[in-house]
């Protein structure tokens, strides 16, 4: 069945992020001057020190659930069959936070600060998106 949910829209700036994900690596830009690692990877200057010396650093893939919500309202027709679905705000071990969702986990067991690790969902042959599962 065709994948109907929104797809990543790579830009000239964040294309490597998506390409690394396709290879099942979670990488984000790290500033070579000050060490700051940030999300989203939509910048060519470090937002902390404004250096342009950025490198794509491989992350541990571990983090915790900073918070989560459960969507009951239908905002996207492509998510209608998933309602009620979870969106989790993940705090990565290296610091940055990103929106994602949780897999291999009942809604009833989700807690703030729950340790999680990345899993790679190959949604299409071109795109892989990061999701997270509890570390048991």
């Amino acid at each position: 069945m065709a994948y109907e949910k929104p797809l990543p829209q790579p830009t000239a700036i964040d294309a490597p992020y998506w390409e690394y994900l396709r290879q099942h690596e979670l990488r984000l830009p790290r500033c070579q001057e000050c060490g700051h690692i940030f999300f989203p990877p939509n910048k060519v200057y470090c937002p902390s020190c404004l250096s342009d010396r950025l490198e794509w650093v491989k992350l541990s893939g571990r983090g915790k659930v900073w918070s989560w919500v459960v969507f009951h309202q239908r905002y996207f027709s492509s998510f209608a069959n998933d309602i009620p679905y979870v969106v989790a705000f993940i705090e990565l071990e290296e610091g940055p936070r990103l929106m994602s969702t949780l897999v291999d986990c009942d809604q009833g067991e989700i807690r703030c600060d729950m340790p999680v690790e990345v899993v790679y969902d190959d949604i299409t042959p071109e795109f892989t998106i990061p999701k997270f599962r509890p570390i048991r």
Partner: protein, 383 residues
């Protein structure tokens, strides 16, 4: 010239006119001719009448949400203005638009400024989330959208950090509704019981239907001028005694301090500049696009400590007759979602003694607080 401070700004500018629309009546009817512009003109006309001003005495026009200042200026026949501009249709802009008007007046660029806000969200089916609503391309992959869900993330985290429970929010929703019951222009006036609140559907859990602002049609116009000119006009002037902004602009609407640190900076600035204290505040309007922001705003402005807001709002403390009446016209969840402008109008009416059945007795000092990516606070007073 010595550096000016917020103190130099004190009481230099007044609100002299306020006009709005009958939100309840608009909610129950449809009119194909109704749009942001026509609604804005209705409010503008009402504000002129309220101030006792002729439209040609307006020399500055600031629009919010109404996209084109040019179209609007044409509609109201204002040609030789000394300032005109449009602010985005975001709730955080109401205080900023007022500040801009005040700056125009203080600097001498303008004498009398109209700030006009119009919203036809119900007529055009605004959703504030979903397809084509400008959600982050990184978030939509997971179906994440809407400021309400961003606030739901913060409320979940708040509950985790401080031991609050979902039912603690009901105090905010039911207080707003109680106040709306005393406001003939409010959209929803029927009493809201705790049971109805708790059995209402989730939108983005942990937030429920009654935690969300309305989507309705309406408009608000505010007219400001210098304090000297204000004394000669129809209504008693309401002074913009102090005002301050502090941004918290990050990629996500969800922030880890729940906008409290930004609000704290604003509150310290306006209390410092005005010489007033928390005990002087008789009524407070807090930008409640979603009910948790009332708790975040009270904590940020130090009406209580961080983590105590969910207890502070219980037992009628923020209702009329309580220690600190908040959102006395019904707020964004019950009166009308005018993105902060209805809250400004309410403070003006409370200070003038025009709030009818919901009047705070002898109201002389009012506060406005906006916990949002651009936090803001005003202290407004009457003499």
């Amino acid at each position: 010239m010595a550096q000016m401070t917020l103190y130099d700004f004190k009481d230099k500018v007044c609100f002299v006119g306020v006009g709005d629309t009958n939100y309840g009546a608009l909610y129950r009817t449809k009119d194909p001719r109704r749009n942001q512009y026509t609604l804005g003109v209705e409010a503008f006309k009402a504000a002129l009448d309220d101030a006792g001003l002729n439209k040609d005495e307006i020399d500055g026009l600031i629009l919010v949400r109404i996209p084109s200042y040019q179209l609007f200026a044409d509609m109201v026949g204002l040609r030789y203005l000394r300032a005109a501009n449009t602010f985005r249709g975001e709730g955080r802009m109401s205080a900023l638009a007022v500040q801009y008007a005040a700056m125009l007046i203080c600097s001498g660029l303008c004498s009398t400024v109209a700030v006009v806000y119009g919203n036809d969200g119900r007529s055009v089916g605004a959703t504030y989330g979903g397809e084509g609503e400008g959600s982050s391309p990184y978030d939509v992959l997971y179906g994440m959208t809407s400021p309400g869900a961003a606030v739901a993330h913060m409320w979940r985290r708040y509950m985790h950090e401080y031991g609050a429970r979902e039912e603690h929010l009901a105090a905010v929703a039911t207080s707003n509704r109680r106040h709306a019951g005393l406001n003939p222009k409010a959209v929803f006036r029927d009493p809201l019981t705790l049971e109805t609140y708790l059995t209402s559907r989730y939108i983005a859990a942990p937030l429920r239907l009654y935690d969300y602002c309305l989507i309705n049609d309406g408009a608000v116009a505010l007219i400001l001028t210098g304090a000297e000119r204000a004394r000669d006009l129809r209504k008693p002037p309401v002074y913009l005694t102090a005002t301050a902004t502090c941004t918290d602009l990050t990629f996500f609407y969800t922030v880890d301090d729940f906008f409290r640190d930004g609000v704290r900076r604003c509150a310290e600035a306006v209390f410092g500049a005005s010489g007033l204290t928390h005990k002087d505040i008789q009524v407070c309007q807090i930008y409640d696009n979603f009910t948790p922001t009332v708790i975040f705003g009270l904590e940020g402005a130090s009406f209580c400590k961080y983590g105590e807001g969910f207890q502070f709002v219980q037992n009628g403390r923020i209702s009329l007759g309580g220690e600190l009446p908040v959102n006395t016209s019904g707020g964004h969840t019950s009166e009308s979602y005018m993105q902060g402008f209805g809250l400004h109008a309410e403070n003006i009416r409370q200070l003038r003694g025009e709030a009818g059945d919901r009047q705070v007795p002898n109201c002389q000092v009012a506060m406005y607080i906006c916990p949002a990516p651009i936090c803001a606070a005003h202290i407004m007073t009457r003499r």
